[in-house]
Amino acid sequence: MENLIQALSLSLVVGLLVKVSLVLLTLLSLVTVRQAGLMDRVVSVPIGNWFKGIAWGFFWTCLVLTTGVILIV
């Protein structure tokens, strides 16, 4: 138990919190993708695909960066 407490540093705790937050943000970005699709169904405008593209782009960026942070940091 003492070894565990000694091993706990500020960086470790903050790093863990950031990783968990990034995973949650990635999940939220996936919800945004779904939301953009549903919104486009309610009101269909020609530019709607562009918004769906932005949502997908954000999701993939989140996924890649979260994976990178989890593996590297």
């Binding site: 500020l10 960086s11 903050v14 790093g15 950031v18 990783k19 937050s21 990034l22 943000l25 939220l28 970005s29 919800v31 945004t32 939301q35 953009a36 549903l38 919104m39 486009d40 169904r41 309610v42 009101v43 269909s44 405008v45 020609p46 530019i47 918004f51 932005i54 949502a55 954000f58 960026t61 989140c62 960066l65 942070v69 590297i72 940091v73």
Partner: protein, 223 residues
């Protein structure tokens, strides 16, 4: 020789009220991502009737996005200074980098959310109905629709310097039956078109549609 095949679907002139014709002539008939579009091309909405035609498509004036854009611009520079905070200064460089990545992704998420909510919170006036589409946050939407003949009163208000300078305001539409809706707590009516540009024109279009509807009803009765 008569034109059998036409590329564009002709707009039915009978259904268009005078003000809509004027708006189209003045260039408001352009792409549907503007704050006020008359007869938007290639635009449909859920539960649209087969012969129902969209006359006006509205959303909040773009200047109303200024608050979140300014917030993002201010928060963008925060990672440059956060080494001054003892909690962040004491963590290792890779963790600081991860923190910065999280910060900027969070800002991007905030921007995308606000952009989507602004773009898809629309108000639609068709030749038969008015529709108020409200999205709140990620997972909640509220769609109100009523027929033109059920409208009792329509008014608009412009409050504040920004509204006067950029010519936008709230259009409040009162219907015959009291419309119970989740968004009526904050708004004057279930059909409140918030911060739409040229509210006077919008009121005029709705008034003309009401007159047209009344006339049709009267003619139907006397025939």
């Amino acid at each position: 020789m008569p034109e059998v095949y036409t590329k564009k679907k002709p707009v039915k002139a009978d259904n268009l009220v005078e003000t809509v014709k004027k708006l189209v002539a003045e260039g408001f008939g352009g792409p549907p991502w503007r704050s006020l579009t008359a007869c938007p091309p290639k635009t449909k909405f859920e539960a649209q009737h087969e012969k129902e035609e969209i006359l006006l498509l509205m959303r909040r004036h773009p200047i109303t996005n200024l608050w979140w854009m300014a917030s993002i611009a201010m928060l963008f520079g925060v990672p440059l200074f956060w080494s001054e905070f003892p909690l962040v200064a004491n963590v290792t460089a890779p963790v600081q980098l991860a923190l910065a990545i999280f910060w900027y992704l969070g800002l991007a998420f905030f921007a995308i959310q606000n952009l989507l909510l602004w773009f898809y919170n629309v108000y639609i006036v068709t030749d038969e109905r008015i529709i108020d589409v409200d999205f709140f946050g990620l997972l909640y939407k509220n769609v109100n629709a009523t027929q033109i003949q059920k409208i009792e009163d329509v008014s608009y208000s412009q409050v504040g310097m920004m509204a006067s300078v950029f010519n936008f305001g709230n259009v409040v539409i009162q219907t015959a039956a009291e419309q119970r809706s989740d968004d009526t707590n904050e708004e004057g009516s279930a059909f409140t078109f918030g911060a739409v540009s040229n509210p006077d024109r919008v009121v005029k279009v709705i008034s003309e549609l009401m007159e047209q509807e009344e006339k049709e009803e009267y003619e139907g009765r006397t025939r």
